[in-house]
């Protein structure tokens, strides 16, 4: 009898903890929203920032973030798709497959600041792309490679075995099988990967802060050699002016936009994942 009460107490305690952890998301969202609201005005998304970010909007910062993350996915997608197809369709040795998977995991676990350091040195200095949005896109492309690979690999590996058997029975070459079966059937995995990769690239600050971005001076890149302002760098600089309430309000505003962007992309990935998966299972 006594132990039953004890257990009830524990379960209640655990449920409260679970509720607290789940509401953490709500707390973060609400805080960012309430703090960011004062900075939002009608032109926040469409005006340039003024007075070193303390007033005005974040149009060019948002644009910079979009440029970097799009560039990253454009570069990363062919490599991710090609490498996963090679690993799943052509490689036969289990050892090599395992090695590639390990490499993907290492890349996924690597602290992002190291991508920034090494990426800047390799792309920016040795390949002479300098501090520019191209360098930033390349660095982010390497960083999101494992994210894309995981989604694509999951989709390919969950294809029913019969599909491959049918393809082989029809005498299709590996390339025809990839073209006619694998890519169309794994479409949802690729799209999900793209959205998750975009979200990861959008949220990243450390990897690009000294290799691709600038706080002031440049609005739109006019060549491949120009850096861009981004939401992340904007927030980082303004946050360090913690004593200045106007700067901090602008940082919260930018944070609200960034957080919405990341959540929107993640939700899109989920919706596509579930819907297209259902279609694929029909």
């Amino acid at each position: 009898m006594k132990s039953a009460t004890f257990e009830k107490g524990i379960v209640v305690l655990l449920s409260i903890l679970t509720l607290l952890v789940s509401s953490l998301l709500l707390v973060i969202l609400a805080t960012v929203f309430i703090k960011g609201l004062p900075a939002l005005h009608s032109g926040f998304l469409t005006e340039a920032s003024e007075d070193f970010g303390r007033a005005g909007g974040i149009f060019y910062q948002l644009l910079g973030t979009l440029i970097l993350m799009t560039g990253a996915v454009v570069i990363s997608l062919p490599v991710a798709l090609g490498s996963v197809i090679y690993q799943t369709q052509y490689v036969e040795s289990a050892k090599v497959k395992e090695m590639c998977r390990q490499a993907s995991q290492v890349l996924n676990a690597t602290p992002t600041i190291l991508f920034g350091l090494v990426g800047y040195l390799f792309f920016g200095v040795y390949l002479e792309t300098g501090v520019s949005w191209v360098t930033g896109s390349l660095i982010l492309a390497v960083m999101i490679l494992p994210t894309l690979q995981v989604s694509i690999r999951e989709a390919i590996e969950s294809l029913p075995e019969q599909y491959k058997d049918t393809g082989m029975a029809l005498g299709l070459s590996p390339w025809s099988q990839i073209k006619a079966i694998i890519i169309p059937q794994c479409y949802y995995g690729i799209v999900t990967g793209v959205f998750l990769g975009l979200a990861r690239a959008a949220g990243e600050t450390a990897a690009i802060m000294f290799a691709a971005t600038t706080f002031s001076g440049i609005r739109l890149p006019e060549s491949f050699a120009d850096p861009v302002p981004t939401l992340q760098t904007h927030m980082l600089v303004l946050t360090q002016e913690a004593a200045n309430p106007e700067a901090l309000a602008q940082a919260w505003g930018a944070g609200l936009v960034l957080l919405s962007l990341v959540f929107f992309l993640t939700l899109m990935a989920w919706i596509l994942r579930s819907r297209l998966k259902m279609e694929a299972e029909l």
């Binding site: 655990l14 998301l25 369709q89 993907s104 995991q105 290492v106 190291l114 350091l117 490679l145």
Partner: protein, 299 residues
């Protein structure tokens, strides 16, 4: 005619297929180069400082740009902050994971998992802003400090940041314990709670260890949020266990100083050596963590 076709066409197709194979192989090679190149560059670039200072680099306590480079304060800071985050996160993550896996039905469970996935995606800079605006002020007020940017602040912030990772992976490990185990335990008259503690938890232990290790790996590499709240002073706290003093971690040091010396000189080399150290630590921890997670899956 038919023989002619069947002899020739597959050959043509085969050639094209062969060509595409090389394209895919090349793309895979690029991917492997990204992973291998990172490691190679870190070693290559940090070689000069090891030549200059040898292993004293890891033992030195002073970091004066242009004179001497000692990594010990950063190593210590990283270790302490990570340990602190772990201490805070493990009990909470385990408690919530047990409840989510063993007591929740599938719809609320999926809800909790979705919330965790979203939480894991919150950008580090947003956590940094939250830390600067709230956490560091709270710690300053509660403990009556002059400066709220301390190791404890960074530890707490990191605990919040790695919570979703540790929680969702350990929950996966518990959920993957076969249902027969639970049925047997319940059939023997154990209560749900006793089953969770005495049967599911030990079975899921390797997976939980793996989850915690992956969380540690993430915590060690986090840059922006830690950089904003750790205080950025290159020194070992006095006394060594004083978590309410400002210090420095490896990533925060890299974030603060990399822009000053990019590409050349002993300073850059020393920073790259710090990066190499961080990479090796994270690599080792993640490798072991993945090993534990995989063992769970196989057995």
């Amino acid at each position: 005619m038919a023989t002619f076709l069947s002899n020739n066409k597959p050959l043509l197709v085969k050639n094209k297929s062969q060509g595409m194979m090389w394209v895919f192989a090349a793309l895979n090679f690029i991917f492997l180069c990204c992973a291998g190149g990172l490691f190679f560059f870190l070693i290559f670039e940090s070689y000069p400082i090891f030549k200059l200072e040898g292993f004293d680099f890891w033992l030195g306590q002073d970091w004066w740009v242009g004179e001497t480079y000692g990594a010990l304060p950063m190593l210590y800071g990283s270790t302490l902050v990570t340990a602190l985050a772990c201490l805070l996160v493990i009990p909470l993550a385990l408690a919530v994971a047990i409840f989510t896996s063993e007591f929740l039905s599938s719809t609320p469970r999926r809800f909790v998992k979705s919330v965790l996935e979203l939480l894991a995606g919150v950008p580090g800079i947003v956590y940094g802003l939250l830390g600067v605006s709230f956490l560091s002020l709270w710690i300053k007020d509660i403990f009556g400090l002059l400066d709220g940017n301390t190791l404890a602040t960074a530890g707490c912030l990191l605990a919040i940041m790695i919570l979703p990772t540790v929680l969702t992976l350990s929950e996966d490990a518990m959920h993957a314990v076969p249902a027969e185990y639970r049925d047997n335990a319940l059939g023997l008259g154990l209560s749900k709670w006793q089953t969770a503690i005495a049967v599911v938890l030990p079975q899921a232990l390797p997976g939980i260890v793996g989850a915690v290790l992956l969380g540690i790996g993430r915590a060690m590499g986090e840059t922006i949020a830690v950089m904003l709240v750790v205080g950025s002073l290159d020194r070992i706290p006095d006394p060594w266990f004083n978590i309410f003093s400002s210090a420095q971690t490896i990533p925060s040091k890299l974030g603060r100083e990399a822009a000053e010396s990019i590409g050349e000189g002993a300073h850059w080399s020393a920073l790259m050596a710090l990066g190499l150290t961080l990479f090796l630590m994270v690599f080792l921890i993640t490798f072991v963590g993945n090993h534990f997670l995989k063992r769970r899956r196989v057995s």
